[in-house]
């Protein structure tokens, strides 16, 4: 006990001495680099994460990416992290209100919140602080709030393309999809994928089957969360056994388990591939890039970036934004390793369908509309 106290005391003395000696140089260095850029004209862009955390490989990390891109696009107005851009993580739902309030108190020019669960909290804060700009991902308001950008994404459109592509690429005549949980933001992808396959069947008089989802009955396969990769691996293994050769997981990190199962099948000589969701899989999970035919992307990054930049430029209008194929808010990612493997005919058909969806001649029905 006594020895411990001595050690601790000695350490404290050393630390205090060091602090006294070192503080001059360090303070001068740190202060000069930051203060000029955070002048009165600058803007702070602040983000409150959902409970998934900042590195969820899904909408939180995409949103944060968008905040960082906005900073990179206009470094003269937005200082670098952690001065000009910063985030607060919500570990539980009870953090939403205090986190938003902390940023209001911190004089953030633009506060980005993520996910529909933060909808009510953001609405309350927006009404209480009418001159404060907000952006919310995956949510919007009817009637619209003048100081909130509600950012929604019609992912049924690019999932439709993904489904068509999968149907065109399958060799077994069976493709599969599954979700993390039965949420509207998940099943909208599965609806689009299913629609795309049916459209391929009607165009080519084929009968490609979709395992794991049926738009008519709204029933299908879900792993139960967005984190347990083992469940994704098991479920994908089942689909592969049943004869599917292209898997489309809509389950965030669980998709990595699916990729593992696809890799295992591939190493045993079976033909198996997949499509990634939300982000470009070759960027967010590059180790599995060779199995990704494409990714059904949701342009959260760009939408968040643009919302922040309008706030910087003083053109912030608020209201609702819906990302579509036409405005680039949703899109199919590049084929990467599959660029040479996707037949040219199929690629041009996809281009035609994309135009059809954009001008409304091809309908993309879904039971989970945005």
């Amino acid at each position: 006990m006594r020895g411990t106290i001595k050690t601790a005391a000695a350490f404290t003395v050393v630390a205090l001495l060091a602090a006294a000696c070192g503080s001059n140089t360090s303070k001068a260095g740190g202060g000069s680099s930051n203060s000029p850029s955070t002048s009165a004209t600058g803007l702070k862009a602040c983000m409150v994460t959902d409970t998934g955390g900042i590195d969820d490989r899904s909408f939180n990390s995409s949103s944060w990416q968008g905040v960082q891109e906005a900073q990179a696009a206009d470094p003269s107005q937005i200082a670098a992290y952690p001065t000009g851009i910063k985030y607060l993580q919500s570990t539980t739902q009870s953090n939403y209100v205090p986190n938003i309030n902390a940023f209001v108190g911190d004089k953030c020019g633009m506060i980005v919140t993520v996910g529909y669960l933060m909808g009510p909290a953001t609405e309350t804060a927006a009404k209480a602080h009418p001159s404060q700009h907000f952006g919310i991902v995956d949510y919007n308001y009817t009637p619209v709030l003048k100081n909130v950008d509600g950012l929604l994404f019609d992912t049924v459109q690019d999932a439709f393309l993904g489904g068509y592509l999968a149907a065109g690429m399958t060799k077994t005549g069976k493709v599969a999809t599954f979700g993390g949980e039965d949420f509207p933001t998940v099943t909208i992808y599965m609806d689009g994928f299913w629609d795309g396959v049916q459209y391929y069947n009607s165009q080519h008089h084929k009968s490609v089957k979709v395992l794991g989802w049926d738009e008519q009955t709204q029933k299908g396969a879900f792993t139960g969360d967005f984190t347990n990769q083992t469940k994704g691996e098991t479920l994908t293994g089942t689909f592969l056994t049943e004869g599917a050769d292209i898997i489309f997981p809509v389950a965030g990190n669980v998709g990595l388990g699916a990729a593992k199962a696809v890799q295992d099948a591939d190493s045993q000589g079976d033909n198996a591939n997949m499509e990634w969701v939300d982000t470009d899989g070759c960027v967010s999970a590059p180790q599995y890039c060779k199995y990704f035919i494409t990714s059904v992307e949701k342009g959260i990054q760009t939408a968040v970036k643009n919302a922040i930049l309008t706030s910087v430029k003083g053109t912030f209008a608020g209201g609702n934004y819906i990302g579509t194929l036409a405005n680039g808010g949703v899109t199919l990612a590049p084929y990467h390793d599959f660029a040479s493997k996707v037949p040219a005919a199929l690629q041009s058909e996809l281009a035609t369908i994309k135009t059809g969806i954009e001008n409304g001649t091809i309908k993309t029905p879904t039971k989970s509309p945005v």
Binding site: M1, G3, T4, T7, A8, V14, A15, L16, L17, A18, A19, A20, C21, G22, S23, T25, S26, G30, T51, Y81, P82, K86, Y87, L88, Q89, T91, T92, Q93, S94, N95, V97, P98, N99, A102, F103, D106, Y116, L117, G119, P120, E181, D182, F183, P184, S368
Partner: protein, 475 residues
């Protein structure tokens, strides 16, 4: 844990419901305790922990789980708990400092400028902790702002005064559900039961309170009270199921409560997707807002989030204290907790006690759900239950399963959560660091208990434990 009825050895062990700690007003002798045997054992309430410890130290045949339980309830002195908190804060400070990129850069140049390396580490930890203090207890800047106002009246009117109390209010708001859920776990601990199911009971209470909140229309005050009672009932029903399963079938409550957590989590998700609990015209898994009349009123002005839920929590703590220390029922709870066989021999119905304990514990956890929905959130989502049920276990452990201890532990946790937000906002130290500190506290508190349980030791002196602890974190 002793097994199902009749399985345990009928040892005439000490029927010591344990000393009641600082809040004990003296021997909790019930007025109408039945047999003489009970009356004698009730006097065992009075002696200090040391003598109680000696008696059981000779009994090496007790099940492991029971020893852990007793260690939790009777073991650590306030000194050990305090030292554990200090140790956790020190270790947490080191973690904050040495996960900070600025500090790591400074340390990579240690040989060139050792002073700077220490200074950066100190700045990082001190900055984070002072931000945490400002977020949890009080922020000197807000006091300064009050004095800059023309008069106290204008400072009051413009909200500068309430800004001073905002940190304390946030601490209380964060502590409220933890007090209630912590009591649910603590009460069960005292009766020798592990309640791992505060989450399921929380959901049961929150669902009923929310449904009553938006589905029923009543006059303001009555509506609020009805919803709070609904919260208790909703949780109590889930707790009752656990108690009945244990009493009738011998199913172990740990298994049953853990499984019921899953059942209730999925039931909540399901119901939010239907018109029963979901918001009409929306696909999102979120309930409608409860009516304004069902909202627990703010108790310190509209700009502070502290609400009547905090008073409900404190009242519940007093209620549990009265129940455990002053009532015949509580005496039975503690007797069953200390030695079920002896309780049975003395003519108590152990099964009935189990059911009642889980009924009340479930109700308390349900109140926690009602307090969150009616106090701060005003609606329910598929993840509203957060980590309250899990935190409740650590709060009860830290509070040594005593009502007062639970309240203090919950306030500490509430303060860490409230301060964590400020810490993250000001210094960008991850808020997860508060969870690390919480875990470290529990680890330090639990470690001596575990050590004693493993070696079948009991009632070590406070000084001895301090030594173990000190050795633990110096080496």
């Amino acid at each position: 844990m002793s097994g199902p009825p009749g399985e345990g050895p009928v040892t005439p062990g000490p029927v010591t419901p344990g000393p009641d700690g600082p809040q004990s007003p003296g021997p909790g002798t019930p007025q109408d305790a039945g047999t003489p045997a009970i009356a004698t054992s009730a006097s065992g309430d009075a002696p200090p922990p040391a003598s109680g410890g000696e008696e059981t130290a000779q009994d090496g045949r007790q099940p492991f789980g029971r020893i852990i339980l007793e260690s939790i309830v009777e073991g650590n002195s306030a000194m050990v708990t305090t030292l554990a908190i200090v140790a956790a804060i020190v270790v947490g400070g080191l973690l904050i400092a040495f996960t900070d990129p600025v500090v790591l850069t400074a340390w990579s140049n240690f040989s060139a400028n050792p002073g700077n390396a220490f200074a950066q580490a100190w700045d990082s930890a001190a900055g984070s902790y002072s931000a945490m203090f400002e977020g949890a207890i009080f922020n000197p800047h807000t006091i300064a702002a009050v004095f800059q106002q023309a008069s106290l009246a204008s400072a009051l009117h413009d909200g500068y005064v309430s800004a001073v109390f905002n940190p304390l209010s946030e601490t209380a708001v964060n502590a409220t559900p933890l007090i209630l859920a912590g009591l649910a776990v603590a009460l069960a601990f005292r009766a020798g039961l592990f309640n791992i199911g505060a989450t399921s009971q929380w959901i049961g209470g929150a669902m009923l309170a929310t449904w009553l909140g938006f589905g029923v229309s009543l006059p303001p005050f009555i509506h609020c009270v009805v919803c709070v009672i609904g919260g208790f009932v909703g949780g109590a029903v889930i707790g009752w199921v656990v108690g009945v399963l244990k009493a009738r079938t011998g199913a172990h409550e740990v298994i049953v409560t853990i499984m019921l957590n899953y059942v209730m989590e999925y039931l909540l998700s399901y119901l939010l997707g239907t018109s029963a609990l979901g918001k009409p015209g929306s696909n999102d898994l979120i309930s409608p807002n409860i009516a304004g009349s069902a909202v627990l009123p703010h108790i310190a002005g509209p700009s502070l989030r502290i609400n009547a839920g905090f008073l409900v929590a404190l009242a519940a703590a007093v209620g549990v204290w009265w129940l455990l220390s002053r009532s015949t029922l509580g005496f039975e709870f503690r007797t069953v907790g200390a030695n079920p066989s002896a309780a049975r021999a003395a003519g108590m119905s152990v099964e009935r006690t189990w059911i009642l304990v889980f009924l009340i514990a479930g109700g308390l956890a349900g109140l926690s759900g009602a307090a969150v929905v009616q106090g701060t959130d005003h609606f329910l989502t598929f993840q509203s239950y957060g980590t309250y049920g899990i935190d409740a276990i650590t709060v009860a452990l830290l509070g040594r399963a005593r009502p007062l201890g639970t309240v203090l532990a919950a306030l500490l946790y509430g303060g860490l959560y409230a301060g964590g937000v400020q810490m993250q906002a000001v210094t960008q130290t991850p808020a997860s660091m508060t969870e690390v500190i919480q875990a470290l506290i529990v680890l330090f508190v639990a470690a001596p208990a575990f050590v004693r349980a493993l070696f079948r030791l009991r009632g070590a002196k406070a000084g001895g434990e301090g030594q173990t602890l000190a050795k633990g974190w110096s080496g």
